[in-house]
Amino acid sequence: MVGISDCKVTRDADAVLVTYALGSCIAVAMHDPLTKVSGMLHYMLPESAIDSRKAEENPFMFADTGIPRLIDELRAAGADGKRMVVRLTGGAQVLDSQGVFQIGKRNYLAARKILWKAGILVAAEAVGGEVSRTTRLEVGLGRLWVREGGAIERELVRSNGAKGRNGNE
């Protein structure tokens, strides 16, 4: 289970990475279809500059410290950046514990900016709106499931239906 401001990396094909209560937070799920190396990061805020002491204690609280860490840990475990399938979930506009409204969109833009800089494109996303989300990644098959609000869980696939060049949806 991936908690808030938390990150897990695994290559166990039987594992499922799951995170809950994604309001304005973002879950970054990454999966290498060849080696099965997978990871999930659940972060709360876009930029660590606002509290660099906290970022040192827990880099997974912020997009700009958490995402590069996630990528490094995945690479160390054998994942290839060019093969990785990346999906984003969360970033809703909710009035969360901070009492902040706009942070969902900021979190989402932060993920896209950092991934663009890291040379990684997003394969699919379930973001925005005003619902809380839960997301889980089946490591073996590389399938990502999202539950939005009270709705039934659905699989998150590429929205235009095109097959990725590596054969994955």
């Binding site: 896209r112 040379g119 494109l121 997003v122 235009n160 095109a162 990725g164 060049r165």
Partner: protein, 131 residues
């Protein structure tokens, strides 16, 4: 099978942005060449084979519309798919570029992912047509 791409845009940084998307996209990019306007593009095309042309419209010298006109009149080059990448999203222009043979039209602004999706569609269509 690596795709060779020609990027035609008078902005060097826009060419960098597009090149970056190509390299990140997952499909094999072979040779990726650049041109700053239609004249340079035609010179590149006479020098080597290209699988897809990505072209802006507003460029000094020869613009993208005139480039497409020349390509559609050329027996060999008219089979090379061209995708327009332009800040002009007026209806008349879009229709004219499609009539001149453009296989796709990306209106700026677009996300890197949207450009990747469009390239996959165009290259997929091209591969299907050749199969």
């Amino acid at each position: 099978m690596a795709y060779s791409v020609l990027i035609v845009d008078d902005s060097p940084v826009m060419r960098s942005f597009i090149r970056r998307v190509l390299n990140m996209s997952g499909f094999e990019v072979g040779e990726c060449t650049e041109a700053g306007n239609g004249i340079e593009a035609l010179a590149q095309l006479s020098a080597h084979r290209v699988d897809v042309i990505l072209t802006d419209i507003n460029m000094p010298g020869m613009n993208g519309e005139e480039l497409l006109r020349r390509l559609s009149a050329d027996g060999t080059l008219k089979t090379t798919p061209a995708v327009v990448i332009s800040t002009d999203a007026t209806n008349e222009r879009i229709v004219r570029m499609i009539e001149l043979g453009a296989k796709g039209y990306m209106a700026k602004p677009f996300t890197p992912e949207t450009l990747r999706d469009e390239l996959e569609r165009v290259l997929g269509d091209r591969d299907a047509a050749r199969a």
